[in-house]
């Protein structure tokens, strides 16, 4: 594409684009220009034009991220929300379907098309159309990654290796991406398909479509034995595609993803279990992990989270239709069962009942959602928790604008669950901070949200998070389990892996992006990017 065409795609960043300076993390950045490419050619043309001028690029999707990875730090914003087309479908010999999408496709939209077995196929080739015919006849397919925010786009989800509740069973996004295309700063493209390009030990060599060789030594650190979205994923002999997923927009622009789909489970039941004490919930979590074979999610809501929900419900408006938690409920465990038959679901449900009885709870203090209406009510209940906390923080911000959301995203290995919860409780009490905790307890991954009343609370909360990052790292955990590091958790990443590992990560980045054009301020400080490749 001619340079003039690229310039036509680049808009001066004036007041009408103000919203694009921030994301859901509520951080605000700045930029000089913005573009909204609609296909890979446009992405490449814009990148070439920017490279010629030495303008750095922040890549954005739906801006639902919580780590400010999409918040610009000067330069250009490349917003991919208009790259939202479905590109093709294939079916492998084992009957699995793989769907190619542009990065701006929104998860909610994807789910809608999958459940209706009706994917927009405009411009598809004959092979994809044939696969679509087979898809229409096959059992309903799903894409299992389910971050709470369904308005997230697939590109953003890949960039931060998103996960969500069902990662307990299905793992994070990384395991469900079978191919991708990455546009590099010079407009060249790297095409990766799972299984086709692997590191040799920690040495990785890749060839772009333009013939450039990217050769780098991958960092030597070991990944934590738990969910992680903290820095580059590395492993001996790793698949190159896994490095790109979770790279927080620092290596290039994902212009296409191929998603591996799977058949929807025959039976999905949700069970909310109300318990008096947090300790019972921890005991139950460990027992459920051992005994259940069909759990797709084990989630937790602490007493403060339930109380906030109660208050929001009582205040009416959007939350008036929330199901009310039972009187005296101290906390809630939510278990989702995905089974092949109702008989299997009944057997698993009985096991949940047994576990509750064993920890001193009761199978009467439960809600079992087996119908769409009930499942929707439970989803509303779970999603209302972070929403309610955001509303509470917004309310408090009115009296002190220094206050903002302070939510943790750390995970630890299974055997450290009790220890990490004890750490949270002891240090919150010591600091005298109000907090609510919820999240993916099955993965030992709680979002502890400090609820500051004033700037002093906020500062104390930030200090506490830094301490947690150090202690979680010492437990072999991850400082970010699903939100990514972005700009907000760089110091935590240093606490987790140490300065040396950050230098190794910067070396990887320089191999892909020698001029340091992408995602400035994400993962590590720019000073680490100085020096040769």
């Amino acid at each position: 594409m001619a340079r003039d065409n690229a310039q036509a795609l680049i808009h001066t960043f004036d007041a009408e684009f103000e919203d694009y300076a921030r994301d859901e993390s509520r951080s605000r950045g700045w930029a000089e220009s913005i573009s909204f490419p609609t296909d890979e050619d446009e992405v490449r043309a814009v990148l070439r034009a920017l490279a010629a001028e030495g303008v750095p690029v922040t890549v954005q999707g739906a801006r639902t991220g919580l780590a400010a990875g999409a918040v610009p730090a000067g330069g250009h914003i490349m917003n991919l929300s208009r790259m939202n087309r479905y590109l093709g479908l294939r079916k492998d010999d084992e009957g699995r379907f793989y769907l190619r999408v542009q990065p701006g496709v929104v998860l909610l939209d994807l789910r809608k098309h999958l459940s209706a077995r009706d994917i927009p196929a405009s411009g598809w080739d004959a092979a994809s159309r044939a696969a679509l015919d087979a898809f229409a006849q096959a059992p309903v397919q799903i894409f299992p990654t389910d971050p709470t925010e369904a308005s997230a786009c697939l590109g953003g989800m890949a960039a931060c290796n998103a996960s969500g509740a069902r990662s307990y069973r299905y793992g994070a996004m990384r395991g469900h991406v079978s191919g991708l295309r990455l546009a590099l700063a010079d407009g060249d493209v790297l095409a990766l398909r799972r299984g086709e390009a692997r590191a040799c030990g920690r040495a990785l060599t890749l060839t772009t479509e333009g013939g450039r060789i990217i050769a780098t030594e991958l960092p030597g650190y070991r990944m934590p034995a738990c969910k992680s979205a903290s820095g580059y994923y590395v492993a001996d002999d790793m698949d190159a595609i896994d490095l790109i997923i979770g790279s927080d927009g620092t290596l290039g622009v994902i212009t296409e993803l191929e998603l591996e789909l799977m058949p929807a489970p025959a039976v999905t039941w949700g069970v909310s279990c109300f318990l008096a004490e947090e300790r019972q919930a921890l005991d139950a979590t460990c027992a459920l992990r051992e005994r259940l074979s069909c759990a797709s999610a084990i989630e937790y809501f602490d007493h403060a989270a339930l109380e906030i929900l109660r208050a929001q419900r009582a205040s009416g408006a959007a939350f008036a239709s929330l199901v009310e938690p039972p009187e005296g409920a101290g906390c809630c465990l939510f278990v989702e069962l995905e089974c092949a038959s109702e008989d299997e679901a009944m057997a698993e449900l009985s096991l949940v009942g047994e576990v509750l009885a064993a920890v001193g709870g009761s199978e009467r203090d439960t809600w079992v959602a087996r119908t769409d209406t009930d499942r929707e009510a439970l989803t509303f209940f779970r999603h209302a928790v972070p929403e309610s906390v955001n509303m509470l923080i917004d309310e408090r911000r009115r009296t002190d604008s220094a206050i903002t959301k302070l939510g943790s995203d750390m995970a630890v290995p299974n055997e450290r669950l009790y220890e990490v919860v004890a750490l949270y409780r002891a240090t919150l009490a010591e600091a005298g901070l109000e907090a609510a905790a919820w999240g993916h307890i099955g993965d030992n991954h709680l979002h502890v949200n400090v609820l500051p009343h004033d700037a002093a609370d906020y500062a104390a909360g930030k200090e506490l998070f830094a301490r947690w990052a150090r202690e979680v790292a010492a437990m072999g955990g991850a400082v970010s389990a699903e939100h990514g590091v972005g700009k907000l958790k760089r110091d935590f990443l240093k606490a987790m892996y140490g300065e040396g590992a950050l230098c190794e990560m910067a070396r990887v980045k320089r191999a892909f992006d020698p001029a340091g054009m992408f995602g400035r301020g994400n993962l590590f400080d720019e000073s680490l990017l100085e020096g040769g490749a």
Binding site: V352, R364, D372, T373
Partner: protein
């Protein structure tokens, strides 16, 4: 106290299939759910029963439906949520019933339940079914049973030994009404939110019987059931098709505004 809750299986989807010959809804296809208004009626019954029991009075909640055999699963779900018993009237002879024939069948079912559990003090229905939208069953049942009736009930105020007080919709607003028992109420959604079953409830319901009876077993007169007993003639039913098209307008605000002008001019 004996409370009977009438529930109807309605299509889970809003896309309803019609039988081109009889012009009635095809019910043996896709997934069904309990009519949402009937779900409210069930919750009102369960709450009233809890209240009566707390006051030391025994109380039974029976759920009653006329439908295809698969409706049994929905009735079992009602048991899981706390109903004490369930009766399904299922017979080809009931097929194609209009509201009169349905009311007749349900009244036969109520008579059958009454033999075992006593005449009902209360019969609760949803204010209408989301598929048929007639809102006639409740009032017709009241007339058949010789009971008092309040429709579109928004709230149950009190329930004593011989009477129930409710707030129900009337022209221009709502009114507090006191009805001597036996009474038939039809419930609006705002009256209650159906509770979810517990693990204990689901497990117990799996072992409980759902009584399934045909027309003869409840002593129904064949001439008054199904199509034969339905004076209503449905001449034609159809799902209205939307003629409207949506157009997404992309671009900068200025580009979008220009495109909008073009579209408006095109329409004019």
């Amino acid at each position: 106290m004996h409370i009977v809750v009438c529930v109807k299986a309605v299509p889970a989807s809003t896309e309803v299939k019609m039988d081109p010959v009889t012009n009635t809804i095809v019910r043996d296809g896709g997934a069904s759910v309990v009519n949402p208004f009937d779900a409210t009626a069930l919750e009102v019954a369960l709450s009233l029963a809890e209240e009566r029991r707390r006051a030391g009075e025994p109380c039974r909640v029976s759920v009653l439906s006329m439908g295809i055999p698969a409706t049994e699963a929905l009735l079992r779900d009602c048991l899981a949520r706390g109903a004490d018993g369930a009766l399904l009237l299922s017979d080809r002879a009931f097929a194609g019933a209009d509201t009169l024939a349905t009311t007749y069948a349900l009244s036969c079912g109520i008579a059958h339940l009454a033999k075992q559990w006593g005449e009902p003090d209360l019969v609760l229905c949803g204010k209408m079914a989301v598929d048929g939208d007639t809102a006639q069953i409740g009032p017709e049942l009241a007339a058949t049973l010789g009971a008092t009736c309040a429709t579109d009930v928004r709230e149950v105020l009190t329930c004593g030994a011989g009477a129930i007080a409710v707030r129900a919709a009337v022209d221009g607003g709502t009114a507090a009404l006191e009805l001597p028992l036996p009474a038939v109420l039809t419930l609006a959604r705002e009256a209650a939110q159906l509770r979810m079953p517990s693990i204990a409830g689901v497990r117990a319901a799996a072992e409980m019987p759902v009584e399934v009876l045909g027309a003869a077993a409840v002593g129904a007169d064949a001439a008054r059931t199904g199509l034969a007993g339905s004076p209503t003639q449905v001449v034609r039913s159809f799902v209205p098709e939307s003629q409207r098209e949506s157009v997404a307008v992309d671009g900068t605000p200025a580009e979008q505004a220009l495109r909008l002008v073009e579209i408006i001019e095109g329409v004019a």
